[in-house]
């Protein structure tokens, strides 16, 4: 589960072969001494911000607010963490909650107060059961509250209030979990600074980008040169995001779904549910196109977020790093959605690995991998969309989650086996050493994605039916 490689750093360890004749689409400007020196001057910073702002204009609808916050943080690096908290609070109240569709501003301070109390309790009572297992307690407590709320009578005001609170609490759940993990550190940040990492203004999903306060302390730029490097790398990454965005919008979608007329995967899946006939090769084409589109989308999103984080002076690792080069399932999992994987490692893998089955090396790794990639993964996704539970009730929603549970089990088994089989890289032929493993890994994730839909929940029978279509077995 901790997987093969921390993405952005892999290049440092085994310098990748350059593109023919050493050409790189985006040059490593942070390694050019004149550029690095210029980026530390006031005109250099202004120019950096101007270019970054222009790229944000392409990439982000709220580019104005973002560039203003980034400019303030660039101007006052000594107050970076405090400004991060202020910026995040302003962002949450002024922009982010407005765009989420449910304006639950009243619930937001209540959630913060509860989080502050939990943080204080975890710090104050280190030796209590809660102090020793703060994240497990938090997650169990949240699950219990959701279960109780699902039993409240539908016509009661209390039910509405409970679900409104849980909706906001669920959004911040994993951010609070990182704070609780940090509560045990000797040099932990005070709660006021922890708040800056709760859906920070640079963007995030419910899986914290970029982890929590402890990680930010480690990656923060501590001098002008480090800040310049972080910002130049941020600029490069945002450029990548814009290029990929253009590629997706202007080339991939028109060619694949327009010129080649490959149907959208969601559309084809609906046809499969309605038992409408379509050729098996169309199913494959649509599945592969959907897989590639997902890769592009997550890369664009992740690059944009990490670029803003770097521009703020934190040299964070990339979220997605060359996933199509992965030679093992564990490596792909690490390269595809790094911050989600890290969340599962920190909250599920490490606690399990260091507590259970300590005398059996392989079993220990297997159990910890299942705790993270199977249980943790399914837990995260089940409680991410509370509307299903609210509408169907807890147990019916859980029963309807069978496809994703199956996905998690197969994924965890794949990662565990991949880790146990891990061997040192040997120099073999390109076909055996590179092509075959990469092809197998991509095929595994591509086929498994039939069961891994998270935006809409399909019954497992429908997923198996589509799988049968792929192999021309469905009537």
């Amino acid at each position: 589960m901790p997987a093969a490689a921390d993405p952005a750093c892999k290049a440092r360890i085994s310098p990748r072969k350059p593109f023919p004749w050493g050409f790189r689409l985006i040059p490593p400007i942070e390694t050019f001494p004149p550029v690095l020196s210029f980026a530390q001057t006031i005109p250099g910073k202004l120019l950096l911000l101007a270019i970054f702002g222009k790229l944000l204009w392409y990439a982000h609808s709220e580019w104005r607010q973002l560039i203003i916050l980034l400019a303030i943080i660039t101007a006052l690096p000594q107050y970076r963490r405090i400004l991060l908290t202020f910026g995040t609070l302003l962002w949450a109240c002024g922009t982010w909650w407005q765009s989420t569709g449910h304006r639950l501003l009243l619930q937001f301070p209540i959630v913060l107060i509860v989080a502050a109390l939990l943080f204080w309790a975890a710090t104050r009572f280190r030796q209590s059961w809660f102090g020793r297992r703060p994240v497990a307690s938090l997650l169990s407590g949240f699950a219990l509250l959701v279960l109780l709320a699902s039993y409240l009578p539908t016509d009661r005001h209390l039910r509405t209030l409970s679900w409104d609170f849980l909706a906001v609490a669920g959004t911040y759940l994993w951010f609070v979990a990182y704070s609780l993990l940090d509560s045990g550190s000797k040099n932990r940040d005070p709660f006021a600074l922890q708040v800056g990492t709760y859906h920070p203004f640079w963007g995030s999903t419910n899986a914290p980008f970029v982890k929590g306060a402890a990680y930010l302390r480690r990656i923060e730029a501590h001098n002008p040169e480090q800040l310049a490097i972080a910002q130049l790398k941020g600029l490069k990454l945002l450029t990548w995001a814009v290029i990929l965005g253009f590629f997706l919008e202007k080339a991939f979608m028109p060619v694949v779904h327009g010129y080649l007329r490959i149907p959208l995967y969601s559309h084809l899946f609906e046809l499969s549910i309605q038992r409408a006939p379509f050729p098996w090769y169309i199913a494959w084409a649509s599945l592969i196109a959907n897989f590639l589109r997902s890769l592009l989308q997550i890369s664009i999103f992740g690059h944009g977020v990490v670029a803003c984080c770097r521009m703020a002076g934190f040299l964070a690792l990339r979220n997605t790093y060359r996933p199509l080069e992965s030679r093992s399932i564990a490596e792909f999992w690490n390269r595809y959605y790094y911050y989600f994987k890290e969340l599962l490692v920190d909250c599920f893998f490490y606690p399990t690995f260091f507590r259970y089955c300590k005398s059996h090396r392989r079993l220990r790794l297997f159990v910890a991998t299942f705790a993270a990639a199977c249980f943790g993964n399914a837990f995260y996704h089940f409680f991410r969309n509370l509307n299903y539970i609210k509408e169907l009730g807890f147990w019916k929603a859980l029963a309807g989650f069978d496809a994703y549970i199956f996905y998690s089990v197969v994924l965890a088994a794949g990662i565990a086996i991949s880790q146990l089989r891990q061997r040192p890289v040997k120099t073999t032929s390109w076909i055996r050493g590179r092509f075959v493993p990469t092809f197998c890994v991509i095929s595994f994730f591509c086929i498994l994605s039939v069961f891994g839909a998270t935006d809409k929940r399909y019954p497992i029978q429908a997923c198996f039916r589509f799988l049968a279509h792929l192999f021309n077995l469905a009537s």
């Binding site: 997987a3 490689a5 921390d6 440092r12 360890i13 260091f354 300590k358």
Partner: protein
Amino acid sequence: MERKILIREFIEGLLARKEDTQPFSDEASLFVSGRLQSVDAIELAVFLEEAFAVDFASTGFDQEMIDTVDAISALVEGRSTRE
């Protein structure tokens, strides 16, 4: 001192497997710098459990605790002092 040498030797072995033969100081970051990765963190932690009886179940685990040779040494020393 001998403890530090053992730790260094183990880390050198981990780095050598990645064909990384660059020298590193006792204060040099291993994980945040990206020279070692999370899978190595597990191997290093298991080594510390077996060689020095460090119990991460009671202390909790964070990569920061084992990011430098000095940090690892302090972690092991702290455990010995408590004993």
